[in-house]
Symmetry: C2
Subunit: 332 residues, 2 copies
Amino acid sequence: MKREKPREGARPTMADVARELGVAKITVSRALSDQSTVKESTRTLIRETAERMGYRLNVSARNLRQQRTRTIAVVIEMTPSHERLMSEPYPLLLLGGILQELTAAGQNMVLTTIDLFLQAPPSADGVILLGQGVHDDAAAVIEATGLPYVVWGAEHGPPGRVVVGSDNREGGRLAAGHLLGRGCRRLLFLGDAEHGEAEDRLNGFEAALADSGAAIVANIPCAFTVAAGREAVVPLLGGQGPDFDGIFASSDAIAMGAIEALQAHGRKVPGDVSVVGFDDSPGAALFSPRLTSIRQDWGVGGELLAQKVLDLVAGKAVESRAMPVGLIVRDS
Amino acid sequence: MKREKPREGARPTMADVARELGVAKITVSRALSDQSTVKESTRTLIRETAERMGYRLNVSARNLRQQRTRTIAVVIEMTPSHERLMSEPYPLLLLGGILQELTAAGQNMVLTTIDLFLQAPPSADGVILLGQGVHDDAAAVIEATGLPYVVWGAEHGPPGRVVVGSDNREGGRLAAGHLLGRGCRRLLFLGDAEHGEAEDRLNGFEAALADSGAAIVANIPCAFTVAAGREAVVPLLGGQGPDFDGIFASSDAIAMGAIEALQAHGRKVPGDVSVVGFDDSPGAALFSPRLTSIRQDWGVGGELLAQKVLDLVAGKAVESRAMPVGLIVRDS
DNA sequence: CTGAAAGCGCTAACAG
DNA sequence: CTGTTAGCGCTTTCAG
């Protein structure tokens, strides 16, 4: 057997462990990956020795040799900030689901933003994109890498693309049904319909309103924040603008902002105006009045995203998926 | 110059680009890392050719060769869930700060949980641990890897450890000062003092109360959630238990739960009882009454964590740091 | 059941 | 300014 020179100071390698025991380094490799072709007793001996010597696998070397990284890149389309956290709490919940599923599959997760991804592409076997953005440009950046990828959002891109998201149209329908049931007839939609998910929510909302006797009296473009929700309704409260008795906001944050503005102008919620939000974010039940909302299941969404990107990496066929949503009736 | 055989199908390597142009692959390497030792014209030619051929750097190979990973592992001590998101919104904000700073330094970030970290240690040059937990066991796991690491939390571990966190004692003092100023004399502390950060908050609170005429009439252990906050005060509202006119809750979530319980029992906030929370979480300003709280600056904290772990990796000396906090007075 | 050789793709070190 | 050589640590392939 070929001997190699010992080394000092640095972290021990397989060669070091092999030399210590007088075996070949390939035997160490096999033992540590628990291959049954190595005698049981040898295997445990090697494992113990490696442990004792403080051996740790060099992941870069393995990845180079195996031509894969066991890593999935998760790209966040937006930057987390104090303002947006409340408006879009989903990142953390989605991340939780993704992490859980990747973990189970023995994969690592590198987290980046879209800018960083361009600047310094991490090494990964596949990509999960969270939020496709207003224009589809984020997805285009990922597409260009040639890596397999899946997107959280709405199905508005090219046909082949794999998208996981909530059934936003159904969410819109549920909101409409609820407001109609409460007797609302003159409705407001708050949200940015340039945004794929909001567009679907609006479409479902409109569809369910057809022939109902109710109508959308104003459709106000507005970002996914509390402040934007406030600003969206203020212009309608001075006497000018159409009258309304119901609001469908495309996020809970928008709904909260709108309600604050309404109350500040003496309008009662839900007495004068009924409001339905979207997301069922953690703060919805704590707001006053407690917010009626459309719930999305982000945890499951994250798991699904991870599963699908792994299938894609493995070369399997994969389909898009719209996840069920639910109406959570509270006091607004 | 040595020629190498061409290859089909696979992603092109530096050797492929080199052959295409009739140069050595080391020249390609140098050109792509923009070294001035390569003639300007050659550099641009190589860059363009690489681009055209769809060349992408093999990060594993570079990492193996350079014996580093350009990656920092961020270990979350807890699992994100719908319940805990609201109670501890800091992960995302901390992550934002960390990400920003790592990005600027050209580093990647792998996200794991403490369990996953044990199961399958990712390759990284350093570790950031978010949340040291009740017992210091999470830190012990990281310590065992021998990797340089920093912790978000309170300074309660061994002396050498680098900890970044808010000045929790000062936060406690601010809360005490505010409640005293409002005339409160019989105070409640809600939080888990087994938890290092909560312990410091309590210590600062007690210290500022000394010789003030006011006293802590009950110190109720309680997890960092809305539900726990509710359950913590309910037993005191039936007539048994001490009377109280002020509460310092060690998180906003706890404060919200406590206030809900108080209101449900007919006690007015802030009329009968004044409440101070901790975190100034995004929902604090939306709660009713708007929550008075101690603000922590997570974004800056994240940046600091990243900076310090990078310094550690670079072999520099690094010190722990307690970040300033601020009292945000609202209506509770 | 164990071993030797080869090479993944890249860059440091040393020529020229 | 450019090239040659060597080798990072591991696992695949082929031999025993």
